[in-house]
């Protein structure tokens, strides 16, 4: 039987709530739920608080209808549903770094209906391409740091920030090393495994996650891949932690070799470049990171980044997925399709909801995958 290289990450991903509860019990610490990956986790970590990303459960629900108009994306409603259903009852606080209107609604409704001792709205700028954003965000981070200090009663020192930056940068570096194995002719990990590895890192103590990554990196080179790679796919678009979908595609003659999601590479691609002023360094990291489409203007910086990923990972085709009603992605997808197709990379578009119609999507994905097969493969 094959060694399960990604078991730890899978367990963390599956049992995120149990992990956080145990962490609290073990450390006596506090847990802060966050809604968007623009949240500067380093500062939270430096305060001794565990940041955990709030994500949905991909189950049908009926509790958010009175709170969020149904034309807002399924993810924001799914996230709020988790709170209303009490699944994050261990959180001591919540926060958001300014992102799309959808997630902001989930945050404001959560804040109103699930009172917690701490909540924070970080005014992360949208205008990340203006140099004015740097001093502005640096100041906002200063306010956030003060607020955390007041909440926890502990001073966040330069030393603790340095430690947090080091831990987070190490995490990013280690995951990038793992991603190198996705470039291989027969990638040593699937897209599903990569997603669970990344997302589990959003829900666990990075120190532990780093340890698990180091162990993985020791073993992974030895992994004998016993599955067909099939078509090398890239997946792009809104947040995607839909394990069932990834599994279905990867059992249909394809492998996801790279992605641009905030549940994937976009989360960890860029490091904090140390500066004497720690908050300036952190501000620069979040302003200059691979952007979410909601912030990618006036220039389209995502296009060259995505194309580079496609080339680096030897991508044959791309699935563009979008959470229903997700305006930022809807506004980027047509130009991404054009750009990739002009560069010889075929694309296929799918719209996601809280649950995915796996049967129907399988037929559509298989039809797309067939286009990569030689006539001799077909008959």
């Amino acid at each position: 039987m094959e060694q399960d290289f990604f078991k730890k990450f899978h367990e963390w991903y599956q049992n995120r709530h149990e992990y956080a509860k145990e962490w609290k019990e073990k450390t006596g610490g506090t847990v802060l739920g966050y809604f968007c990956t623009y949240v500067p986790e380093e500062i939270i970590y430096a305060a001794g608080v565990l940041p955990v990303r709030i994500l949905g459960s991909h189950e049908a629900q009926s509790v958010t209808e009175p709170h969020i108009f149904a034309m807002f994306c399924p993810l924001c409603r799914d996230c709020l549903a988790q709170g209303l259903q009490g699944r994050y009852d261990y959180l001591d606080g919540i926060m958001i770094a300014q992102c799309c209107l959808h997630m902001r609604q989930a945050f404001t409704s959560w804040k109103k209906h699930i009172p917690l001792e701490y909540n924070y709205y970080l005014y992360m700028p949208h205008g990340i391409q203006t140099p004015r954003a740097h001093p502005y965000l640096r100041g906002e981070l200063e306010d956030f740091k003060k607020s955390l200090e007041e909440w926890t009663g502990k001073k966040i020192t330069d030393q603790s920030l340095d430690h947090a930056i080091q831990v987070y940068n190490e995490n990013r570096r280690l995951m990038k090393q793992v991603y190198e194995f996705r470039k291989e002719k027969n990638p040593k990990l699937t897209g599903l495994e990569a997603m669970e590895m990344v997302v589990s890192g959003q829900m666990t103590d990075k120190k532990e996650h780093n340890q698990a990554l180091k162990e993985l990196l020791k073993e992974l080179p030895k992994r004998q891949v016993n599955r067909e790679t099939g078509t090398r796919l890239m997946i792009l678009g809104s947040e995607d932690d839909d394990a069932e979908f990834l599994k279905m595609v990867e059992s249909s003659g394809a492998t996801f070799v790279i992605e641009d999601h905030c549940t994937g590479s976009r989360y960890f691609w860029d490091e904090v470049v140390p500066q004497e002023d720690r908050l300036s360094a952190i501000a620069a990291r979040y302003i200059d990171r691979s952007p979410c489409p909601s912030k990618d203007w006036p220039d389209r910086t995502r296009l060259p980044h995505i194309l580079k990923l496609a080339k680096d990972y030897d991508v044959e085709g791309t699935l563009l997925i979008q959470q229903k009603f997700c305006d930022p992605h809807e506004l980027d997808i047509p130009s991404i399709r054009t750009h990739l197709e002009k560069n010889g990379i075929p694309t296929y578009f799918l719209e996601f909801d809280v649950t995915v119609p796996v049967g129907q999507f399988k037929t559509r994905v298989e039809a797309f995958l067939e286009t990569f097969q030689l006539p001799t493969d077909l008959f």
Binding site: F69, C100, Q105, A133, Y136, F325, L331, S335
Partner: protein
């Protein structure tokens, strides 16, 4: 049909409002003929800023243009088809799709070909705005584009740092405008435009405040044709001058008990943009003696309000009326940024509670009997938090209903069903 209780008459300055609007759209087209400059951007843009380039600078604001298209169902449908064929989703902002569709079709709602602007100047207020003009510029084959990020939070959390962020971007924007137009910037013209914008937007708030009177001197359907001037040219002298004239006329109507709706028996307010192709709904209300006195949208998208000494809402006193003399470019931009952040229809982007509180205030001070919320599929920005607003109004004991539709895409509006929903609500209010 309820009987008339009050005398009523049309507005004397109605035709002037219509003329100003028509001139605005036509002047934009003719700008190049007179050696002028055309820029386009959102109605929320800091429109006073390009005014520093000269008196012959004309704008086209996207949202009112999108609403103009929406009013013409056939053209709107053509626009939607054209842009959807380019791969853009049908649930995106309906104004934006109407605007983009016009570019793709090369057809201007006021006749002729699409008048390509010389530059794009806007602010990013919701998920769409910055992307709207990013795509517009691409569809137009490349137009210089500058967008100011204003996402610094609600007015009650403003700070020097936040203002500096906005002001410094506008300072950069002015240098950029000089480069793309080759013109020298005139700070005196900017200062005058800031004064005029503060005057116009304070006056619109004053006009809305006059609608607290019973009977209401204005009904919302009429107000749509009046507030729109502020969305087109809030920084221009002719807009402020017109609002002054309108304010005087509305004052006179209040003094003489002249009603917008002669049979006024009940007062409602709405929320978000109306379904523009179906304004007959507002006439339907009037059949039963129900007047819509406005909404946070009609009041607060343009009107700048403040809490007065007696605790009620009234027009915010303009900087010039507070004795503030603007002397420099930086000061003008700071006044403009601070003034703009106090816009009521901005606060809801950060907190449904702030919006609910403003809505409850309108209910109380404008003597509103019930609230009709338009769950507007065409604008996620103004529909943000609307379900929480509904809960809050209901908790406050205010009769409230919602109807679902789309401000600019008739495919998402069911007139008969909405009429039936409104009829039931009117029965609950006792109006029917």
């Amino acid at each position: 049909m309820a009987e008339n209780k009050y005398k009523t008459k049309p507005l004397d300055c109605w035709n002037e409002a219509k003329q100003l609007r028509e001139n605005y759209y036509k002047n934009f087209v003719r700008a190049h003929e007179v050696g002028g400059i055309r820029w386009a951007g959102g109605a929320w843009s800091f429109s006073a800023v390009p005014a520093g380039l000269g008196d012959d600078v004309y704008s086209l604001t996207g949202e009112p243009y999108g609403a103009t298209v929406a009013f013409n169902k056939e053209f709107a449908e053509e626009c939607h088809d054209a842009i959807e064929a380019k791969g853009y989703a049908r649930d995106l902002c309906a104004y934006m799709r109407n605007y983009w569709g016009s570019i793709v079709l090369n057809k201007y709602a006021w006749g002729g070909e699409w008048p390509k602007p010389d530059f794009l100047w806007t602010t990013h207020i919701c998920c769409s705005h910055a992307k709207w003009y990013q795509v517009a510029g691409e569809l137009e084959g490349g137009v210089p584009y500058f967008c100011v990020d204003v996402s610094v939070g609600p007015y009650n959390e403003r700070s020097e740092r936040k203002l500096n962020y906005i002001v410094s971007q506008m300072m950069d924007g002015i240098e950029w405008m000089e480069k793309v137009t080759g013109r020298k910037y005139d700070d005196e013209k900017l200062i005058q435009a800031v004064y005029d914008e503060c005057r116009a937007t304070s006056l619109w708030a004053e006009i809305c405040t006059l609608n607290k009177a019973i009977p209401a001197p204005l009904d919302e359907k009429t107000m749509y044709s009046l507030y729109v001037l502020g969305t087109l040219m809030k920084h221009r002298k002719e807009c402020a001058d017109f609002y002054e004239k309108l304010r005087d006329e509305v004052k006179d109507r209040v003094a003489n008990g002249i009603a917008a709706v002669g049979n006024e028996r009940f007062r409602v307010m709405t929320d978000t943009q109306p379904p523009w192709a179906f304004l007959e709904l507002w006439r339907y209300l009037q059949k039963y003696g129900v007047v819509s006195i406005g909404s946070l949208y009609t009041f607060g998208l343009i009107g700048i309000f403040e809490v007065k000494e007696d605790g009620t809402w009234g027009p915010r006193i303009s900087p010039q009326d507070r004795g503030i003399e603007i002397e420099t470019r930086e000061q003008a931009l700071r006044v403009l940024a601070e003034w703009t952040l106090s816009r009521p229809e901005w606060q809801h982007f950060y907190s449904p509670e702030l919006k609910s509180d403003m809505m409850k205030r309108i209910v109380k001070e404008w003597h509103v009997d019930g609230v009709m919320l338009h769950y507007n599929r065409g604008c996620e920005g103004l529909s943000m938090g609307i379900a929480e607003n509904k809960l809050a109004l209901r908790e406050a004991g205010i009769p409230v209903m919602h109807f679902e539709g789309n401000m600019g895409d008739e495919r998402e509006f069911d007139l008969e069903r909405t009429k039936a929903e409104i009829a039931a609500f009117l029965e609950i209010l006792g109006a029917k």
